[in-house]
């Protein structure tokens, strides 16, 4: 068979093809602006970290790309089309929750959902489906526990199966919502390097929502930092500067590099502490509301 699309230039797909484009995208909930005039693109094979404290619209950003939520204004395109509900080219790993309904099913069943769970009819045995499910399980190294009920697995094991579920439809774009939450350090680095390998080898783009940069620092190509309606995007070197983050938070903060870790420190409340430390998220939102008051 011969390709008939002659109107396009005959050059092969460029490597920097844009998979997602946000153009002056704004999201509001009532009076509150989550992000304003966000302009950003995600290219093939890119590892994008979406950072920021809780409640700043990181999950909402993913829901927009999934076509589950419309923008307040501006535009977003996924593979040059408006986001659509149930796009098989997007793999989605939701934030991990303890769930009774999932606890009793097997990892293998969870992965299969991502393959043909949305199709009507009965889940008969299918050799092709079986092959794809096995392939995804192998890709995340979950062969040894894929037949156990999910409730008996560790957080890291569950997360690897979640990623297999997202990969089984062979997506171009992978959306991950806090995939490192409640994982121990080895689990964190396993998941992060797994995503990185996928990006490098198949050109899948990953949008990785997290509130901590350090576990993924070696892999990140670009960061998007969301704080209270404002945003900053660029390479980690560009975004993680004292000047830029002070501007973003609206309070003086300092970026320190300790070994191969980044710390974002503020002394605003008297005692210096790391803004990227998850236990301090609560305090952060208090500062945030003060900063808003001063403007």
């Amino acid at each position: 068979m011969v390709e008939v699309s002659q109107e396009a230039t005959p050059t092969p797909e460029p490597d920097d093809r844009e998979l997602v484009q946000f153009n002056k995208a704004t999201m509001r909930f009532g009076q509150r602006t989550l992000w304003d005039s966000l302009t950003l693109s995600v290219i093939r094979g890119e590892f994008l970290a979406v950072l920021g404290p809780n409640g700043m619209g990181k999950t909402t950003l993913l829901r927009v790309m999934l076509g589950l939520q419309p923008l307040s204004s501006g535009a977003v395109e996924v593979e040059n089309e408006a986001p659509r509900h149930g796009n098989p080219r997007i793999g989605y790993v939701p934030q991990q929750r303890r769930s009774d309904s999932l606890a009793s099913i097997r990892g293998r069943d969870l992965v299969r959902f991502g393959c043909d769970g949305h199709r009507a009819g009965l889940p008969f045995f299918n050799r092709d489906v079986r092959r794809r499910v096995d392939g995804a399980i192998r890709e995340v190294g979950a062969e040894s526990f894929a037949n156990a009920p999910i409730g008996t697995l560790s957080g890291g094991e569950q997360q690897r199966l979640r990623i297999a579920q997202a990969l089984v439809s062979d997506p171009r774009i992978l959306l991950l919502d806090e995939p490192l939450l409640s994982l121990d350090l080895p689990g964190q680095s396993q998941v992060a390097s797994l995503i990185d390998r996928r990006c490098r080898t198949t050109g899948t783009a990953a949008v990785f929502v997290t509130h901590e940069i350090n576990p993924i620092l070696p892999y990140v190509d670009k960061v998007l930092y969301l704080v209270g309606g404002r945003w900053a995007a660029g390479s980690t070197e560009d975004v993680f500067t004292s000047e830029r983050l002070s501007d973003l938070y609206g309070i003086p903060v300092e970026v320190a590099r300790v070994g191969n870790r980044i710390m974002v420190v503020t002394a605003e409340e008297g005692v210096p502490y790391d803004l990227m430390d998850d236990e301090k998220c609560r305090l952060l939102s208090e500062i945030e509301s003060k900063a808003h008051g001063h403007r």
């Binding site: 149930g86 991502g114 199709r119 040894s144 526990f145 009920p149």
Partner: protein
């Protein structure tokens, strides 16, 4: 009268056929009801099937058609009022109480046989006529066909709603269809065990099955099997011990199977997990 001679009689054959149809629909629906946490909705529907049946008796002398209308109305109300899961239980409680009161009122106008009322509440499997049997069969086929056509997305949306929504599974439509099918199932089960005891055929077999198996297929088959054992076994036991209603045996069997599953399930699962863990240490 023993089982052997009873089974020669048409009434017993009708009853056995009816209980088999009912057991299959209930066993099929049970795992979904539990996964979607809708046990209380089932109870609400069955209570209101009573109101419908009372109305049916009063207006047309047909309890089954009335029960069907009753549970369909409740399915619609639950769909409308209980859209949010947090509100569902409360709204079902309100609908249930109001509807049951109405049923008592309707029954007080009914001048027919007094046993008709208790038959609605506690079941009347031996009274199944051939037209009723045909109706049960048609409803049963409708349930199997509907559930069969949405089985995979329904399972996905019930177990993993967030990813299902992202993959474009129409949860709203599915839950409407599910409520409709549930109403049909409840009406069927009420014929065997009565509206008060529908849970013994819809919930207990699936709840026991979930204690004994992990794969979705095994749970589905086990749920069907336990429902069949309870319904048909209860019926046959009642034929053997003539003066006790089959309802007693049906509820008894499903209750004790569930208790046994609670007692022996954990050690069964542990053994299975141990062999999986063994596999794990070997492969890793």
């Amino acid at each position: 009268m023993g089982i052997g001679s009873s089974l020669q009689q048409p009434f017993a054959q009708h009853a056995l056929l009816a209980s088999t149809i009912v057991a299959l629909t209930c066993g099929l629906m049970g795992p979904f009801v539990i996964m979607r946490r809708m046990s209380f909705a089932v109870h609400g529907m069955s209570e209101l099937a009573f109101t419908g049946a009372a109305a049916g008796l009063l207006i047309a002398g047909n309890a089954l058609a009335g029960a069907l209308c009753g549970s369909l109305v409740v399915a619609g109300l639950i769909g409308l009022l209980g859209e949010r899961e947090s509100e569902r239980d409360a709204s079902i409680g309100v609908i249930l109480a109001g509807g049951l009161g109405l049923g008592v009122l309707l029954l007080s106008f009914y001048r027919g046989f007094a046993t008709a009322a208790t038959n609605i509440l506690f079941g009347d499997i031996f009274g199944v006529s051939s037209t009723q049997l045909l109706m049960l069969l048609v409803i049963g086929i409708a349930v199997v066909a509907l559930v069969g056509s949405i089985y995979r997305p329904l399972f996905f949306a019930s177990a993993d709603p967030e990813v299902a929504a992202a993959r474009g599974v129409p949860e709203g439509l599915l839950s409407i269809v599910f409520l409709l099918v549930l109403a049909l199932t409840v009406t069927e089960a009420a014929q065997i065990v009565g509206t008060l005891l529908v849970l013994s055929l819809v919930i207990a077999p699936a709840a026991a099955a979930r204690r004994l198996a992990t794969s979705p297929l095994a749970i589905a088959l086990l749920s069907l099997f336990i429902a069949l054992v309870a319904a048909d076994g209860g019926l046959l036991a009642s034929l053997q011990f003539g003066n006790i209603k089959p309802t007693v045996f049906v509820t008894g069997i499903s209750f004790f199977v569930y208790i046994a599953a609670r007692i022996f399930g954990p050690s069964l699962m542990k053994r299975k997990n141990r062999s999986l863990n063994f596999e794990r240490t070997v492969t890793s």
